[in-house]
């Protein structure tokens, strides 16, 4: 008898006969439903729904869940064992999904069904606890059946994990994207309207080129593309300057350069935009100074292309630096030394040898900057002015006065096409190289120093830029203590008090500050989603690195895809997909957690892949031959060796959950407001003081959290072999 089958049978039956089948209105963790349970029609489990509430369509689910009981006594090698599990799992999944999509809040969802079966006279809501458990049971019956057929060395745990990851990615990445595609070819009353789709797709406000001929603005697609190219080129050049200084000069303060690269990662992206306003806006510090000193009239020049570009450059240069420093360091000094012994001077060596060797790194950095710029939402939001870009247009198509879902969907498709093409180009040209680690062979020799003119050029661009970054961060840190920026520069704690005051009331402490609500929600959501992200990410990495199976490439593509999907696109996809049954979770905290987990999953996967490729596979195999199952092996051998990757994944997903804005802005609700969206709201009301105070608190909290996670997970103990450090890289937005 297989214990796992018994386990999933039990789970399935609890889901079917004990827990409420439908989602509970008041949230996942609310237990008020225990009151009317189990007879109340809203709270009854599926079995009672089917028998007592006229929801007969739920009864076949029970049948599929009963079938595996018959094979409990059989052996794994018995062909019936696999056959019954495959059929029960496959049918159960298909049927449960089909009934969920076929019957919604208005009864039958499709007219064809209505005309065949007649009016239903009943309806159903989104699925809840019960349904989740039953789904799990069916999924694992299916995978256990597949494993019993001998797939992946008959490993139940691995097949189950693959099944789980596929199901999750399908539900929370592919389903929302599909919903966008469907929405795009529908009008706003959900009628199929392909002609409208083409009108919208090729409309002038997306692709117009008026800016070339007249003093009008171009289409949003061109705006976005133009901006992305400028930012990609700019960040690459700047990143290269920093990387050259860090590796090929005697520059003293190299540590400081590293710090400057970490800061933007823990900064919500639009906070940089905010600081840019505080410096260069109409009443900004620099503008005021220029007016006072040179009588230059302050203007709104910063709003639009210059402002967005400046802010994105500041935010994304560190990413280019992180990519390029690896490449620049990786070039074997022997190559340069060879060129020099062949009588090339340093300049010619650099141009003919070093630079061509860096080409893949440069392309990589450019594409990352390009993708980040396209996906960025926060900076165009605060600095956009009249310069419309895709991510912003999508947002206003949904929340603005137009409320044009299908236009938002069309814009989302355009944006997605851009980022996917760039992502594809990146993977196509350089893809796998980014995982390869530098070989352990000690390349002796030193990197040559930069030729003079290049050195001057690098210092000339990088140092002022570093200074500007420093000024920006000073602005962020001190901005919160200033009475009213640009007008009254007196010291005040007013903003901090307004946001974070605590008073003592009749029942102890009262968190009376305006920011507490969103602050605690953000912490809670980030703290819940970080371990989940790390878990899903590392599990996927384990599957990708350690297992061979048919369709692995497609699997990898699916799990890495969300890296290339801009947050705005995910946001609208989630709204379209999860606003209605069968998965009805908008307005809850669950949707935020899920959104973070699947948006940040690629980071966990990459950290895991990098770390796991360095652990010799024979370690796993030794454990297997010693009688440990793959789950035990994962727990006792692989995970302890993965500590640095776990830290990286936890830190990164925590930080990104706290700084993200683009997807979040669609998904927050009155009950679940997030810090970033709250701050953005304040910025829109020109309440800069509170916004900047709150932002600096967030940055400090993240710094503390990083230290805390490091301490909690701890170091690997490997004796003489030192623990490797993993660089943090990835995107914001």
């Amino acid at each position: 008898m297989r214990r796992s089958v018994v386990l999933w049978l039990a789970v399935g039956w609890v889901g079917l006969a004990v827990l409420p089948w439908y989602a509970i209105e008041d949230g996942f963790w609310n237990f008020a439903w225990l009151d009317g349970y189990p007879v109340d029609g809203d709270f009854a489990p599926a079995l009672l729904q089917g028998l007592g509430h006229g929801r007969w369509w739920l009864l076949p689910v029970c049948l599929a869940l009963a079938a595996p009981v018959g094979i409990l006594g059989r052996r794994k090698t018995d062909p019936w064992f696999a056959a019954v599990l495959l059929m029960a799992g496959g049918f159960g999944l298909a049927y449960t999904l089909a009934q969920g999509f076929a019957i919604g809040i208005r009864g039958w969802e499709f007219e064809a069904l209505e005309s065949t079966f007649g009016e239903l006279g009943d309806r159903q809501f989104g699925m809840g606890y019960g349904a989740v458990l039953v789904f799990g049971a069916f999924l694992f019956f299916l995978t256990e059946g597949i494993a019993a057929r001998g797939a992946i060395k008959g490993d139940v745990f691995v097949v189950g994990s693959i099944g789980l990851v596929i199901a999750l990615v399908a539900a929370f990445i592919f389903f929302p994207i599909t919903r966008i595609l469907i929405s795009a070819v529908q009008d706003n009353d959900e009628n199929f309207a392909p002609a409208l789709f083409f009108t919208k797709l090729f409309s002038g406000d997306i692709w117009g080129l008026e800016c070339l001929t007249a003093n009008l603005s171009c289409g949003v697609a061109w705006n976005s593309l133009f901006m992305a190219i400028l930012v990609g080129a700019g960040t690459t050049a700047m990143g290269l300057a920093f990387a050259l200084i860090a590796t090929r000069t005697g520059f003293r303060a190299k540590k400081l350069l590293r710090v400057l690269t970490v800061l933007p990662i823990i900064t919500p992206p639009f906070v940089i935009g905010l600081a840019v306003i505080l410096l260069f806006g109409r009443s900004g510090a620099v503008s005021t100074f220029l007016e006072w000193a040179f009588a230059i009239e302050p203007s709104r020049w910063i709003y639009g292309l210059p402002g967005i570009w400046l802010a994105q450059m500041l935010a994304f240069t560190p990413i280019a630096f992180l990519v390029l420093i690896g490449v620049v360091e990786g070039i074997s000094p022997a190559m340069e030394e060879a060129a020099i012994t062949l009588r090339a001077d340093t300049w010619r060596t650099f141009v003919t040898v070093s630079l061509p060797l860096m080409r893949p790194g440069l392309a990589n950095a450019f594409l990352l900057g390009f993708i980040e710029s396209l996906a960025d939402f926060g900076n165009p939001m605060v600095l956009g002015g009249d310069y419309d870009v895709l991510s912003i247009e999508i947002f206003f198509a949904i929340v603005g006065a137009q409320h044009d879902q299908s236009r938002a969907a069309v814009l989302a498709i355009v944006l997605l096409a851009f980022t996917l093409s760039a992502f594809y180009a990146q993977r196509r040209w350089l893809g796998r190289k980014s995982y390869a680690t530098i070989s352990g062979k000690g390349d002796s020799g030193l990197h040559m120093h930069l030729p003079r003119r290049l050195k001057i050029l690098s210092y000339g661009t990088a140092l002022p830029w570093a200074a500007l970054t420093a000024v920006i961060y000073c602005t962020i840190m001190f901005g919160g203590f200033v009475e009213s920026w640009g007008r009254d520069h007196g010291f005040t704690l007013r903003h901090y008090l307004e946001a974070f005051s605590v008073t003592t009331g009749a029942h102890g402490l009262v968190w009376s500050g305006a920011a507490w609500n969103s602050f605690w929600t953000t912490l809670e959501i980030a703290a819940i989603s970080a371990p989940l992200t790390a878990g899903v990410g590392l599990l996927t990495a384990y599957i990708l690195v350690r297992q061979r199976f048919v369709g692995k490439d497609a699997f990898e593509f699916g799990t890495m895809l969300s890296f290339a999907i801009p947050g705005t696109v995910i946001g609208i996809g989630y709204i379209l997909a999860f606003n209605v049954p069968p998965i009805e979770i908008t307005g809850t905290g669950v949707i935020l957690v899920i959104c973070f987990v699947f948006r940040n999953m690629p980071v966990g996967v990459r950290a895991g892949i990098a770390a796991m490729s360095q652990i010799d596979q024979s370690l796993d195999e030794a454990s297997l031959t010693l009688g440990a199952r793959s789950f035990t092996t994962l727990r006792k051998v692989v995970l302890p060796l993965l500590r640095p990757a776990i830290v990286a994944a936890l830190v990164f997903s925590f930080v990104r959950a706290m700084t993200a804005i683009s997807a979040v802005i669609f998904l927050v609700s009155a009950n679940y407001d997030m810090a970033t969206s709250y701050i953005l709201g304040r910025v829109e009301n020109s309440d800069f003081g509170l916004a900047i105070a709150y932002s600096s608190v967030l940055i400090l909290v993240m710094l503390c959290a990083i230290v805390l996670i490091q301490v909690a997970v701890g170091q690997r103990r490997l004796g003489r072999r030192g623990a490797q450090q993993f660089g943090l890289e990835g995107s914001t937005g």
């Binding site: 024979s618 195999e621 297997l624 031959t625 010693l626 009688g627 490997l718 004796g719 003489r720 072999r721």
Partner: protein, 356 residues
């Protein structure tokens, strides 16, 4: 402590393993007797490791049957087979101490920690590493790590013990020593052992039987003696000890012997079922004697290269049959290049093989 009674036979029946297009093992059939040490020998890439991993359950066969003892294990995963393996890289868990490493197999099968550690101590003592339990693997020398890997594999008293090129990470001096230790341990425990190597000398030294593999298939199976004296074909002849391959002609058959003409020299050799006509002759380098005097029934040749190697001399000799490689253990009779010599073939070490 561990009786030979746990040893089991290993049987392959038409086993195929393909990785996509690449066939790593083709129609492999063999039986390994309980308690014997069998070596898989062959050049790199011929499928030895794959065969070993098929026994361990780390690879699943594409088709065919695998039996350990009387039980079919074809579809059983590694963790459910009673087989242990010593890996080429040792695969010691770097985050566990030596003792934890050795006790691992027992503790994951649910034995209480104290008991598992006590047994692991005993096992460590058995391989001569008493008192090293608290160290981390990285704090041991290569040879010691190897012994820990063996101790860890032995603790579950497996039916079959597998070694994948266990000596390849050791320096030349240590190799001979560890080789001996493995042999002694295997004999005293009476374990069925499968040993992979690409080094023919190592294979000849340790094996009860050798399975020579070539291109995913078995080229020949036999005792070291059989393989050396009666190689089935040129490949085996050349792989097990070097061989000079020259062309001869079978003139006539005479009972079990054939009358063979080798470059004008007539010899009587076992014909091994070969028909009259052209034939390949494998001549071991040690089976050739050089003489400065003229000898009857010999070839004449000229030394083209001579190398002094301390224990023996190596010559290249130009003859009408082509260049021959010769090993001469009479170190004092050094013949410098240019010397004209008579080339005499010994009675043993000259074998007819099917021309391939």
């Amino acid at each position: 402590m561990m009786a030979g009674s746990t040893a089991a036979s290993v049987r392959f029946q038409d086993v195929v393993k393909a990785f996509g297009e690449v066939v790593a093992v083709r129609d492999l059939s063999f039986t390994i007797e309980p308690g014997s040490l069998v070596t898989l020998l062959g050049p790199s890439g011929c499928g030895k490791t794959t065969t070993l991993r098929l026994i361990a359950g780390l690879e699943m066969s594409t088709s065919g049957k695998i039996l350990i003892g009387e039980r079919e294990v074809t579809k059983l995963p590694a963790s459910e087979r009673d087989v242990s393996m010593v890996f080429q890289s040792y695969a010691l868990f770097p985050h566990m101490t030596v003792l934890e490493n050795v006790a691992y197999g027992l503790s994951v099968s649910g034995m209480p920690k104290a008991e598992a550690h006590a047994k692991a101590e005993q096992q460590l003592a058995l391989v001569g590493l008493k008192g090293f339990g608290a160290r981390l693997p990285s704090e041991l020398s290569g040879g010691q790590q190897q012994r820990v890997a063996v101790a860890r594999a032995l603790i579950l008293e497996p039916q079959v013990l597998l070694f994948d090129e266990p000596l390849s990470n050791l320096d030349a001096k240590l190799r001979r020593h560890v080789r001996q230790e493995i042999c002694e341990l295997q004999q005293s425990l009476g374990l069925t052992t499968v040993y992979v190597t690409h080094d023919q000398e190592e294979a000849l030294a340790v094996s009860d039987r050798i399975i020579v593999m070539r291109n995913a298939e078995i080229a020949q199976t036999g005792t070291p003696h059989e393989l050396y004296e009666e190689p089935a074909d040129l490949f085996v002849a050349d792989f097990i000890g070097d061989a000079n391959v020259v062309t001869g002609e079978i003139k006539a058959l005479d009972g079990a012997l054939a009358v063979v003409d080798i470059g004008g020299v007539e010899r009587r050799l076992p014909h091994r079922g070969l028909p009259p006509g052209e034939v390949d002759v494998a001549i071991r380098p040690e089976a050739i004697h050089l003489s400065r005097e003229r000898v009857d029934n010999s070839l004449s040749g000229t030394v083209s290269k001579a190398t002094y190697l301390g224990s023996h001399l190596e010559y290249s000799v130009e003859t009408p049959l082509g260049e021959l490689f010769v090993i001469d253990h009479r170190v004092d009779g050094f013949a410098p290049p240019g010397t004209t010599v008579s080339v005499v073939m010994a009675d043993r070490g000259v074998t007819l093989v099917e021309s391939g």
